[in-house]
């Protein structure tokens, strides 16, 4: 039984990674799971300088999901390089670094700083709904998706994954723009913009008013988008959005994802990533699937 997958020349021991921002840089979860069992660890969005993020409350529970408006708090790329890369390199797993910026220039600065670092892929987050500038604004317009992709590609030494926003009319348009811009892969979906009101206080639950909706509630939307994108571009896809179990992950793989990322599920069960890895193996064993590639995009 072989669970190996390959994206842009990088080999992953299995198709399971973490969704950026839900796993830190793996430090906290390394107490719960052996990071070496994961195909890759995808780290929290990192910017050129430290970002303080949004005021609290930053998170709220919703029916079958949650809202977050962290606002991309992060220690900045220098601390990341110094502290987090060496930490992750102790494990036998690939490193995908999620990159954020408020301007095209800032994205490029981070990519440049990372160019000579020992990381495997870069994921460019053009889809965060929780920051005023940058983020999602880049991801909701095909021309700017193509522009930022090609700019980043020019500097990057690692393969580039463009992370797409679901808050668009037609996600395949954005996927095609990423492909034209020279992306090596796409990942989807980031969170859907949502809101919650406390009817007793008659106030927004989040200080930021709106936040990004994640968790199992959004899975059907994410799965549809992965399927649509798989049928419109040639690039490999990292699928995510509401995956709790191996069954969920297999839906994404069958819809066309080469890899899957586990996000909100980590908060509910710190061992979610490993349980998905093991569940996929169980499914393959039970159904006598020799190679995971037999499952990728098998539902048409």
């Amino acid at each position: 039984m072989n669970t190996n997958v390959r994206i842009a020349g990088v080999d992953f021991k299995n198709p399971v990674t973490t969704a950026s921002g839900t796993f830190g840089s793996g430090m906290e979860y390394s107490e719960y799971v052996d990071l070496s069992r994961l195909g890759a660890v995808t780290t929290k969005g990192v910017s050129s300088v430290p970002w303080a993020g949004n005021p609290t409350p930053r998170v709220a529970e919703t029916y079958g999901g949650m809202l977050n408006a962290i606002g991309l708090q992060n220690p900045g790329v220098d601390v990341f390089i110094e502290r987090d890369i060496p930490f992750l390199r102790k494990y036998d797993t690939k490193i995908i670094v999620n990159v954020v910026g408020k301007t095209l220039k800032e994205y490029c600065e981070v990519v440049e700083r990372l160019a000579d670092c020992d990381v495997d892929l870069l994921e460019i987050n053009i889809s965060c709904p929780n920051v005023k500038e940058g983020g999602i604004a880049f991801g909701q317009n095909a021309r700017s998706v193509e522009e930022i992709t090609s700019q980043v590609k020019r500097i990057a030494k690692q393969p580039i994954i463009m992370k797409l926003s679901p808050n668009v009319t037609d996600i395949t348009e954005m996927a095609r723009a990423a492909e034209s811009g020279g992306a090596d892969a796409v990942s989807l979906i980031n969170t859907l913009t949502g809101m919650k009101i406390d009817i007793h206080k008659r106030a927004f639950l989040l200080a930021n008013k709106t936040g990004g909706l994640s968790g199992p509630a959004i899975k059907p939307i994410a799965l549809r988008m992965v399927y649509q994108v798989a049928n419109s571009i040639q690039l490999p896809i990292i699928g995510m959005g509401g995956i709790l179990t191996a069954e969920d992950a297999l839906e994404f793989i069958m819809a066309g994802a080469t890899m899957v990322a586990i996000g909100t599920a980590n908060f509910i069960n710190p061992r979610a990533t490993i349980e998905v890895v093991e569940g996929i193996e169980d499914y393959m064993r039970k159904h006598k699937i020799d190679h995971i590639s037999q499952l990728i995009a098998c539902v048409k």
Partner: protein, 255 residues
């Protein structure tokens, strides 16, 4: 560092203390063995529509019998569900989480406000020295007798129905209480007043903070508070309440 795995435990007892306040004893030898006063646990709901864990402070630890006690107020879906559980039922727990109080001071002053009172109980048990305990209520009194064996108890109520009329600070003034270390847990306005009071008097204080959480273990950055110094982990002026707290020295944080 103790690994705080998610685990299922049996409820020993779950009784009502006051109108919306419940006290639950759990058969949890793992948490009992490893927990410190001021730490908390994450409780999980059975209903799949509510996915995030509920952080609840540890109120008492019985290391011998391998039990912990939680006291909680019913405020929403989760705590309502907990209140319907009975002895013998099971519940899923993760913990102990957070840092807990540092035990120090010769004549410590413990201050609890509302649902911030329960975590003071285990602390009162563990602290040495001559303890003074100030408990602030809106109106109805709960748990105050349980504190009496550990120190001198002063009460404040907002409606004046018992003790000092007003808040915990009023009670402290009322009784001219002196201390070399304040320990406090309660609503943010109370903690803010204590922070100011401690600063003014040049006293040290440990404050237990609260914020909405998702992961409970320091990964999501949902639960931060403003820190006075740039925090070593986050590299900004933010600390994570779940991981770096919930207990902070008063001069570490901005409230």
């Amino acid at each position: 560092m103790v690994l705080a795995e998610k685990h299922k435990v049996v409820i020993k007892q779950n009784i009502q203390l006051d109108e919306d306040i419940y006290s639950m004893w759990l058969e949890d030898s793992y948490v009992a063995k490893n927990a410190k006063a001021g730490q908390f646990v994450s409780l999980y709901l059975e209903d799949g529509s509510s996915l995030l864990p509920r952080p609840i402070s540890i109120c008492e630890i019985d290391k011998e019998l391998g039990r912990i006690r939680l006291v909680y107020r019913v405020v929403g879906k989760g705590t309502l569900a907990f209140s319907t559980l009975k002895g013998g039922d099971e519940i899923t727990v993760m913990g102990p989480l957070g840092n807990g109080f540092h035990l120090e001071g010769k004549n410590p002053l413990l201050i609890g406000g509302g649902i911030g009172i329960p975590p003071m109980l285990e602390l009162a048990k563990q602290l040495d020295g001559e303890k003074k305990i100030v408990l602030g209520y809106r109106d109805s009194i709960f748990m105050s007798q349980e504190f009496e064996q550990y120190g001198k108890v002063y009460i404040s109520t907002e409606d004046g129905s018992a003790g000092t009329k007003g808040n915990v600070i009023d009670a402290i003034f009322d009784h001219d209480i002196r201390t070399d270390m304040i320990y406090a847990c309660g609503p943010t306005p109370m903690l803010r007043a204590i922070q100011a009071y401690a600063k003014e008097k040049g006293m040290k204080a440990q404050l237990s903070l609260e914020e909405r959480m998702a992961c409970g273990i320091g990964a999501c950055l949902g639960c931060v508070c403003k820190s006075t110094e740039r925090d070593h982990h986050t590299n900004v002026n933010n600390k994570r309440i779940c991981k770096d707290g919930p207990v902070f020295y008063a001069d570490e944080v901005e409230l």
